[in-house]
């Protein structure tokens, strides 16, 4: 078989498996980091330093009884977590995690390290994120229970509201880079200013970066925007009635969405795989370090900040974040036009 085709298929498999392991790793990171922040140790018994804890969790989940409420719509009840999980994986498909490399001379020509390089790649991420709302809405409806429905409606309304600021922050980066392909946006961030400051977009676009991260955290329903799943409020929101494998899929989808948001933020604002000291072919390492840092920030924020109440959350999204994002876009567009930045 053609070697390039094999390499591309291998990349797909590697991305898929890595995302699943990233979700598992995030379970461990979350438990450990929150434990240390709360001055305790976290999981220590399952494997060395508790590293087998996520696998124990997953095994436990898979062996639980598959419940389905009698009045629940059977087809939709099973479809909803599938939609969540599939959209979470697909959103990562246009994000490059390394420069075009030839795998140490094995390949005739370099291939880019992503699943698919599409000319509108960034919009694909946005489109698939807006499809993720379906998983939540359908799960809330199909469960046929009050808590699920309320949680699902609140959660999806929150996601839709913050999609606006999310998209506007993306538009800001598109204006600066002049392209919608994520690979080209990353390539526009290579080199340095004045010899030491990397040309990452986070420096001229700090506001855009903050807006994007805030909207991203709200999109993935993580604290401090996780009111719809807060245990004290709505039992467990849209996944109240779910157990075992279907719940594991929702769980998986949430962590992979976190990884995707961090990966997109890295590619757009933190320069992707560009970094000092390493030759360009090993850019994957820098990419992983940056994404890891952003994931740590995710966990850090969750266990530090208190939760927003739902009306505060909506007010923040519509009356503060969206105007800030739009004004940022206007100023960026004006600056690009007049200064050819």
């Amino acid at each position: 078989m053609d070697l390039v085709l094999t390499a591309q298929l291998a990349i797909i498999v590697v991305v898929f498996v890595s995302l699943i392991h990233a979700a598992a790793g995030m379970v461990w990171v979350e438990r450990k980091v929150c434990a240390y922040m709360q001055q305790r140790l976290g999981p220590t018994r399952t494997g060395w330093a508790g590293l087998l804890q996520p696998f124990a969790d997953v095994l436990k989940l898979l062996f639980k009884e598959e419940l389905r409420p009698k009045a629940a719509d059977p087809f939709l009840f099973t479809l909803a977590p599938m939609i969540s999980a599939v959209t979470a994986f697909v959103a990562f498909s246009t994000i490059p995690f390394g420069p075009p490399i030839t795998f140490f001379g094995l390949l005739p020509h370099p291939i880019g390290l992503e699943v698919a390089d599409v000319s509108v790649g960034l919009l694909v991420v946005f489109a698939v994120a807006s499809m993720g709302v379906y998983g939540i809405v359908i799960s809330g409806w199909a469960s046929n229970s009050k808590y699920s429905l309320l949680g699902a409606l609140r959660s999806s309304a929150q996601m839709i509201s913050y999609e606006l600021a999310y998209g506007t922050a993306l538009a800001t980066v598109i204006v600066m880079a002049g392209s919608m392909s994520v690979r080209e946006i990353v390539d526009a961030q290579q080199g340095t200013w004045w010899g030491f400051l990397p040309r990452w977009y986070v420096f001229p676009q700090l506001v855009g970066f903050l807006v994007y991260m805030t909207a991203g955290i709200a999109e993935t329903n993580r604290a401090p925007f996780d009111f719809p799943e807060a245990e004290q409020e709505l039992v467990a929101g849209y996944h109240t009635e779910y157990s075992s494998t279907r719940f594991a899929l929702f769980f998986l989808a949430e962590y992979i969405n976190m990884v995707t948001v961090s990966a997109v933020a890295t590619s757009l604002f933190l320069g992707g795989w560009h970094g000092p000291f390493l030759p360009v072919e090993y850019g994957v390492i820098w990419f992983l370090l940056k994404v890891g840092f952003l994931l740590f920030v995710y966990v850090w924020i969750r266990w530090t900040l208190p939760r927003y109440r739902y009306d505060q959350l909506m007010r923040f999204g519509w009356k503060f974040l969206l105007p800030v994002a739009v004004i940022n876009l206007l100023l960026t567009a004006a600056a690009v036009l007049y200064f050819d930045v």
Binding site: L76, S119, F126, M180
Partner: protein, 176 residues
């Protein structure tokens, strides 16, 4: 390869659309229509319009259909029950449904005949090399903001009016 994809996407679009009007549960209808939009988005990609394909997913499948879903959930839209209005309704009788199918087929035949009079209809898509031009977002932006500026601005006013109208119409009585 793109031929196979055309037939796959086309079949999915036609099948899901037929099921939208064919089966009773409005919730399933909405989700089947989302699938149909996905198939049509794939057809746009085959027609060298990737930007439009993604916009179709964002706007149609991701926004308009979510609105439909909310309304179906809000109204708890029941199946089409044979209420007192259509127990004897002529259109519920099986003869009428068959007539409707015949008329729809006649419509397709008539449209196909009319379209067959178009010149160049047998020319293969992708024959010329205007693919990169048609698929570039920069070109779309350039033409939209020069030739279609008025339509663009008018559309933004239209959306504003629709937003105000929708909120006003769906308000409960006695609310401020």
């Amino acid at each position: 390869m793109s031929d196979v994809l055309f037939y796959v996407f086309g079949a999915v679009a036609v099948l899901t659309s037929a099921l939208v009007i064919g089966q009773g549960n409005p919730m399933y209808s909405v989700l089947l229509l989302v699938a149909s939009f996905g198939a049509i988005s794939g057809l746009y990609v085959l027609l060298d319009a990737p930007f439009l394909a993604v916009i179709q997913i964002i706007v149609y499948a991701g926004a308009i259909m979510v609105l439909f879903l909310y309304v179906v959930m809000l109204l708890n839209a029941p199946q089409e029950d044979a209420g007192e209005w259509d127990r004897l309704h002529p259109l519920r009788e099986p003869g009428a449904a068959r007539l409707g199918a015949v008329l729809a087929t006649l419509l397709v035949v008539q449209l196909a005949w009319a379209l067959s009079k178009t010149s160049g209809i047998r020319r293969a898509i992708g024959d010329d090399d205007s693919g990169p031009l048609v698929s570039s977002v920069a070109e779309i932006g350039r033409v939209m903001f020069t030739d279609y500026t008025f339509a663009f601005e008018a559309t933004s006013l239209l959306i504003l009016v629709a937003m105000v109208g929708a909120i006003l119409l769906a308000r409960r009585e006695g609310e401020r």
